[in-house]
């Protein structure tokens, strides 16, 4: 495939796909509540509207607030460049799993700084809750990626996701995919952990951190979040697709198409899940995360058992 086609398809997936993904989640939720709901491309209009609004800033802010959103978005773009979340990419750099995990942590750190810089109490406690949550969730994500690296004998994500010996490891792919998906629910503040549409500040986790952002800053924050959602969903969709051993033998553009359809299906599934489950009490969240860690542990053990060919 020519480089121009590769570039344009990659840029299209990075720019167009994340808002579409969120739109699909919202549309599914609306349909399940018997509403027509906004069109799936509504997030584009929302983002466009945000760029035209005037900004309101708190008096106590210093430059960190501005810096945080920019650093957050650029880190997420770097992640989109590192992680093999779509099969067609202009480059595939060496992406160690721990680099990726700590890049996620860097993005989170700057979001927290931004939330605390605004001087609002809600921002601060949103930040503290988010840190607690991510502290709990990080082992689950680490273990899931480690289990994949065990079966591929490499810590390079690119090598893991182009790995093509599928004798007995489909259970590992399934467990790791489930674990990454559930982690993304916790990490991005989706339903069982945090309600993204809540309007009560006391129950917010992620929304509390974005309360003080407005106009272009909010645009950057929102887009960062959409892109992160798409990255996580694409990773877990790829894990699920690799349960089917024939996936690795397909042509790249067929793989790309399947992954994108998979991401949209996962988005619909997120919408269904958010309409069915209730938000967990904050004290119950560690228990939910413990189940995610269990799934990751199972996946690591199965990977170890499969790899040593007992």
């Amino acid at each position: 495939m020519s480089s121009i086609a590769t570039w344009s398809s990659y840029l299209l997936t990075v720019i167009i796909f994340p808002p579409l993904c969120l739109g699909v989640v919202r549309k599914t939720k609306a349909r399940l509540q018997n509403r027509v709901g906004p069109a799936v491309w509504q997030p584009f209009f929302d983002l466009h509207r945000l760029t035209k609004k005037r900004e309101t800033l708190s008096d106590t802010m210093c430059g960190v607030f501005r810096l945080s959103t920019v650093v957050g978005l650029s880190t997420t773009f770097a992640l989109a460049w590192f992680i093999p979340w779509v099969p067609i990419k202009p480059w595939s750099p060496h992406a160690d799993i721990f680099t990726v995990i700590y890049l996620f942590a860097l993005e989170r750190f700057f979001t927290l700084l931004g939330a605390m810089d605004s001087g609002s109490a809600f921002g601060a406690f949103g930040a503290s809750r988010d840190v607690t949550l991510n502290l709990l969730v990080e082992p689950a994500l680490c273990l899931a990626l480690v289990s994949l690296s065990i079966i591929a004998n490499s810590t390079d994500l690119g090598a893991i996701f182009s790995f093509s010996h599928f004798s007995t490891v489909s259970l590992v792919w399934f467990c790791a995919g489930t674990s990454i998906f559930l982690t993304s629910l916790a990490e991005l503040g989706r339903m069982p952990v945090d309600d993204p549409t809540t309007h009560l500040e006391l129950t917010m986790i992620h929304e509390a951190m974005t309360l003080e952002a407005s106009a272009r800053n909010l645009f950057l924050l929102e887009f960062t979040r959409m892109l992160k959602l798409t990255l996580f969903l694409a990773l877990s969709a790829q894990c699920y697709l690799r349960i089917w051993a024939g996936f690795a033998t397909l042509a790249p553009f067929q793989q790309e198409l399947l992954v994108l359809i998979g991401v949209l299906l996962m988005a619909i599934f997120v919408g269904i899940l958010e309409s069915l489950v209730v938000k967990l009490q904050w004290r119950k969240v560690p228990e939910f995360v413990a189940y995610i860690v269990t799934v990751s542990l199972i996946s690591v053990f199965v990977a170890m058992a499969g790899n040593t060919s007992l």
């Binding site: 860690v293 269990t294 542990l297 053990f301 007992l310």
Partner: protein, 216 residues
Amino acid sequence: MNLSAPELCLLMAALVACLTLGSLHLSVNLGLFAIETVLIALATAFMGGITGDRELYVIALLIFCFKAFTVPLFLSWISDKLMAQRDIGSFLPAPLSMHLCLILFVLSFALAKEIPVSHAAGHSWPGASAGISLLLSGLILMLARRLAISQVVGFLVIENGIYTFALTQTRGMPLMVEMGILLDLLVAVMVAGLLIFKIQKNFEHIDIAQLKDLRD
């Protein structure tokens, strides 16, 4: 690693037993116990297919009827009567005991590899590791839970573990012995159920942590 059908069933049963530790709801515990026992009955039937032993089919049917069906129903009936939906709390938090159990699951793999295996059909060390793991999860269940009904569930899981170990290591027990064990088990559960009623009547709770003081 290539697993035969009975081994796969037994390993899945051991995994389900690990998951049982994760919930404090009695109905979930009993449901998972029923699934675990159905898997063991399936493994017994598959084993009958492999070894050509007709008696194993009968044993599988008996396990399915008594252990997987009657016993959980009876226990859930008791918990309904006593209005005990949840274990009051365990000495170890539920998720942690689940993780501990998973680690023991892996340790039992290492343990089972050391057991000398006869080379007869259907006798294998993954099955033995499932047996050891089931036994240990039953032990943790009994240690970590405070409600008398959970103690009975823990006892039943231990029994499942011993049965699994016997099934995979020896040629299975004779039909008469197995029937005797099942009957004993049924009677034991019935007696335990009656005892639980009695405890509830005398002490107005079924929390075994508070049964340390003697009373006349």
